[in-house]
Amino acid sequence: MTWLHPSESEALSLSLSVAARSVILSLPLALLLAWLLTRRRFPGRTLLDAFVHLPLVLPPVVVGYLLLLLFGARGPIGSWLERVLGIELIFTRNGAALATAVMSFPLMVRAMRISLENVDRGLEEAARTLGAGGFDRFTTITLPLMLPGVLAGAITAFSASLGEFGAVITFVSNIPGETRTLPLALYSALQTPGGDAVAARLAFISFVLGLSGLLLSEWFARRVRRMLGR
């Protein structure tokens, strides 16, 4: 992409890297939560459900601030991570990935829950009578049947992660090459005199990425539906 300035292509590749990390981080956790919230009845389920959805209704700045309190260098989790595992989150792309993961988490859980609710329990019963135990049943029947939802959730979350602004800038600041993702680069360009052309190009990239994400998700859902004969 020769028409992009090196700093712009840097923002683009950084965004893709952050979004990929964010999806990989949240996918297994979202699957577990979707399963818990759909299939299990336990005290505090409603509270947990509300908690998962909080990022949808809170200002992103508040989420970033809470992340700072918990995962910052002196936060209870952040200091433990740094001391024991040597993972630094503040001012790093991993931190940016964490912030976007938290913000896009509800989208992913929602998509997975809807598809899990649509899985016919009768098919799982049939698998049981054929000798499949719990985990076996989940991986060979339940998960493949909810795959459209899992992938739609992942693609939506990936696209949303590319665009996350408030939580990222609050938690990991705006450091070129490390945490300056597309929307942050776009914001910085607008703050810079004569940065209009840069801003326009970055906006165009964001537009193309978002649109292709949505189209890809739709195309995939159709393909899977056809495979299942629906």
Partner: protein, 373 residues
């Protein structure tokens, strides 16, 4: 004892209280009206539903015993289940569906994929997706899939109910094949008495959650509770018959029942073949002297063994025609005027006969049986 079941379960206002035993390999039909608890009962046997109290044992294995707080999960019961709606896995091909249970069965396999494909004619369906199958094909695949899990017992929950009536005859012969060529005991749930007649070797009657009677098909065909379920017009004795041969002058087939003989229109069936013959009570006329000069060709002679009241206007007359009981419906007026009573010789004039299950009791061509059966 192959299968013994005694369970209780409450579900809202419905209560299940069932008790039956299947003494031999064969097909036990759980027969009753829709909603009488048949499906609940087999779900308890399969382990898909919990019982409040009771015991289920198959051969020497106890599957459920609430007193000992023992309940094997369905995946460890080794019970094949053919669901009413087939429940094929939509994300897998027919072949993968068939192999799903096979791959999870214990090491010793008594039936192979090739044998099942052969029995159920599945060869041409193997590479299809499940949504490309017709209703009858789906049920055949579901039966094959259940069999390949190498079960010690096969449960079939109205496997023909979701198929349109015209197509049922495409599937019934396969069920007969399974019965005659496999030694796997089967529990067949149905609310269609014709299916029961064709398939069952043993019948358990159910009414409002309770098992009310059980026994062989011939015995149960004379049970008075059956009338409640199938209606007065469908009541009639089912008797074992064997083909004697074809009468050369009339072209009719001669079938021995009891000490008598029936001549019926039928396709050529080999002499010696065992048949199930249904004689509806409403199709029999009773005479107390050998009848003459009648158009009716089929007359069975015997001795009245019982006279029971059927409803306000009619009685059921049981007649022993030689180690075989048949049953006729007559009006109470006729009972009085002819002085019908046990011990009296009688002649039953048969207006109509229907034959069931041609292949019944045919010797297995290949013997396929779970260990311990």
């Amino acid at each position: 004892m192959m299968l013994s079941v005694a369970v209780k379960k409450r579900r809202g206002s419905f209560s299940l209280d069932a008790c039956f035993e299947l003494p031999t390999p064969g097909v036990v039909a759980l027969f009753g009206r829709s909603g009488c608890g048949k499906s609940t009962l087999i779900n308890v046997i399969a382990g898909l539903l919990d019982a409040d109290a009771g015991r289920v044992a198959l051969n020497d294995t106890v599957l459920l015993d609430t007193e000992r707080r023992l309940s094997l999960p369905p995946e460890r019961r080794r019970i094949g289940y053919v669901f009413q709606d087939a429940r094929l896995f939509p994300h897998l091909s027919v072949a993968s569906n068939l192999k799903y249970g096979e791959a999870r069965a214990p090491a010793h396999h008594y039936v192979t994929l090739d044998a099942v494909a052969d029995l159920l004619d599945l060869g041409s369906l193997m590479n299809r997706r499940t949504h490309q199958l017709s209703g009858g094909e789906r049920q055949r695949v579901a039966m094959g899939r259940a069999l390949l899990s190498q079960p010690n017992l096969l449960l079939l929950d109205e496997p023909l109910a979701s198929i349109d009536a015209a197509r049922r005859d495409e599937v019934l012969p396969y069920l007969e094949t399974l019965r005659d060529q496999l030694n796997v005991p089967m529990v067949y749930v149905s609310h269609d008495f014709d299916e029961v007649l064709r398939l069952a070797t043993y019948v358990v009657l159910m009414e409002s959650g309770k098992t009310i009677a059980q026994g062989g098909v011939a015995e149960m065909s004379l049970n008075k509770d059956l009338r409640l379920i199938i209606g007065a017009d469908a009541v009639g004795a089912i008797v074992e018959g064997s083909v004697l041969g074809t009468d050369p002058s009339s072209g009719l087939m001669r079938v021995k029942v009891g000490n008598g003989e029936l001549k019926v229109h039928a396709a050529d069936i080999a002499p010696g073949t065992k048949l199930r013959v249904q004689l509806l009570a409403r199709d029999l006329i009773v005479a107390t002297r050998p009848p003459r000069n009648l158009s009716v060709r089929n007359i069975l002679a015997g001795v009245i063994t019982a006279v029971t009241s059927d409803d306000a206007d009619s009685d059921l007359i049981a007649i022993d025609i030689g180690a075989t009981l048949i049953m006729a419906r007559v009006t109470k007026a006729a009972t009085r005027e002819l002085k019908l009573a046990p011990g009296l010789p009688a002649w039953a004039l048969v207006k109509a006969v229907s034959l069931r299950s041609h292949s019944f009791a045919a010797p297995p061509a290949i013997s396929i049986a779970p260990p311990g059966a």
